[in-house]
Amino acid sequence: MTSAAPSVGIPLPAPARPPRAARLGRGLAASLPPMVTFIVVIIGWELAASRLQSRPYVMPPPSAILAALVENWSADRWPLLASAQHTFFEALGGLVIGTAVGLTVAFAVSRWASARDAVLPLAVAANAIPVIAVAPIMNNWFGVLEPLSKMMIAALLVFFPVMINVTRGLTQVEPGALELMRSYAASEGQTLRKVRVPNALPFFLTALKLGTTLSLIGAIVGEYFGGSSDVIGRVVVQSASALRFDVTWAAILLGSSAGIAFYLVIAAVERVLIPWHPSVRGEQVG
């Protein structure tokens, strides 16, 4: 920050974002402890598993899981890569559908009090439905072999956090901000665009991060209840019943990697879209 201090000598606070190199260093420092923990757990697992050699199907060692992953990467029976792609596609579709419906309801509910009264209690009640119980129904409605049936299960899970968070973001605006807009005789639309939507953006991105995980859960739960076999859910079920737990673990590993990658994408989008937000600035939210 090279700008001169103003004539009214109020001290200048430290710049909010340190230089890139420092940030990178801090990022590495922050990720070191969990990485060490992870490596210790893996080594412990490997050692423990090799002592239980007689029953490898109870707890296959990480080395065996890795071997199963490589071996079945594009195998005929349990094609892991293709399965992960299919499941990811279903989750993504579910995320898109659930987000679209969640956003639509949120905007309607925050705009019209009548919509709020008519829809909100139902939406909250719908959230109480155990999704695993309706999965067979979705498979029935949208075709058990169609990816759409799994997307709808995922969408059901994604809908609620998106709807409730975005509604909050649109309505929980600082009263002073609304008064300011009123003092400028701003229209309802201007207030929506310039205050409510930017205010809701951090809420929305938080919901999306939740949604990435939820959509994968929804897709895999749907797969358990039947459908095309080249998906993570089916690979897990079938390899487990064939006592090939090394393949099961490999499928789980792949599924979680997809979830983590998904999450990191949204987190990156967040840094681009809301660099001003305390959660991204890395300050304490107070």
Binding site: V8, I10, A185
Partner: protein, 274 residues
């Protein structure tokens, strides 16, 4: 008095809570503010000074009486964007840079981009924050944030500036600096200002006239003309006449007690006003 900018006539304001619990916030208020005047409203908590300001700004409506600004009803004046407002909190948007915050009212008005940018920079120079145009509000101190809010309020060249305890959250040193700053800006722009404050020294230092109010029901008890010469500076705060006027305002505020109100109220008044 020259041309009248604000005319408040026979205004009552009663808040109704939960059906029938009534609070009389203001009773029988008459007030006129002439063009180019700097008028402060001072009084204990609950005297309705902020409510009076909000009535002038059409953020709330009177129960009885009329409020006119520039010869028009307040609601008309608001739609004509006749005034700028500065609140106790700066109310800046974190997702906008300092310059974009100042530009907001110009955007709402639909001014062309080039004009907006020039005007925003001009306003930032006025409050001496042009070097911080690209910063975000959270990178600034409280005093600087409030100066951004002032720049934003002045962006539309309002004929009336309404300020509701703008420096209430600042420490005494910063507040004094901000007072000098406001006077400098006021002298430059020749805007009419109505200013709500808890602070006697602030009211005396800034104003052409101090309106003293009392609580329950909120009403105007004294109008005190501040005849300190202008331009005023830090030396003004050390003049004998300044202290006399501060004392006069303080006694006017205390007069509240002699009219038969309880001692707790006097304590409340002294605690918040002194």
């Amino acid at each position: 008095m020259t041309e009248t900018v604000v005319r408040v006539a026979g205004v009552d304001k009663t808040f109704v809570r939960d059906g029938d619990a009534r609070t009389v916030a203001l009773s029988g208020i008459d007030l006129e503010v002439g063009r180019g005047q700097f008028v402060s409203l001072i009084g204990p908590s609950g005297c309705g000074k902020s409510t009076l300001l909000r009535l002038i700004g059409d953020l709330t409506q009177p129960t009885a009486g009329t409020v006119s600004v520039n010869g028009k009803p307040a609601s008309r004046a608001r739609r004509d964007r006749d005034y700028g407002m500065v609140f106790q909190a700066p109310v800046l948007f974190d997702w906008r840079t300092v310059e974009d915050n100042v530009r907001l009212p110009l955007e709402l008005l639909g001014q062309p981009r080039a004009q907006r940018e020039a005007r925003a920079r001009e306003m930032l120079s006025l409050v001496e924050l042009h070097d911080f145009a690209g910063h975000h509000p959270y990178q600034l101190s409280g005093g600087m944030q409030q100066r951004v809010a002032i720049a934003r309020a002045l962006a539309l060249e309002p004929s009336l500036l309404l300020m509701d305890e703008p420096f209430g959250a600042l420490d005494e040193m910063t507040r004094e600096r901000m007072n000098s700053e406001v006077l400098r800006i006021w002298e430059k722009t020749a805007t009419t200002v109505v200013f709500v404050t808890h602070s006697i020294p602030e009211a005396v230092f800034l104003s052409s006239r101090v309106v003293v109010m009392s609580a329950r029901p909120g009403r105007i008890t004294n109008l005190i003309e501040i005849d300190l010469p202008r331009p005023r500076s830090d030396e003004t705060r050390e003049e004998r006449r300044y202290f006399e006027l501060v004392t006069q305002v303080r006694e006017a505020l205390r007069g509240d007690d002699e009219t038969g109100h309880g001692s707790t109220e006097r304590l409340a008044a002294e605690g918040t006003v002194g």
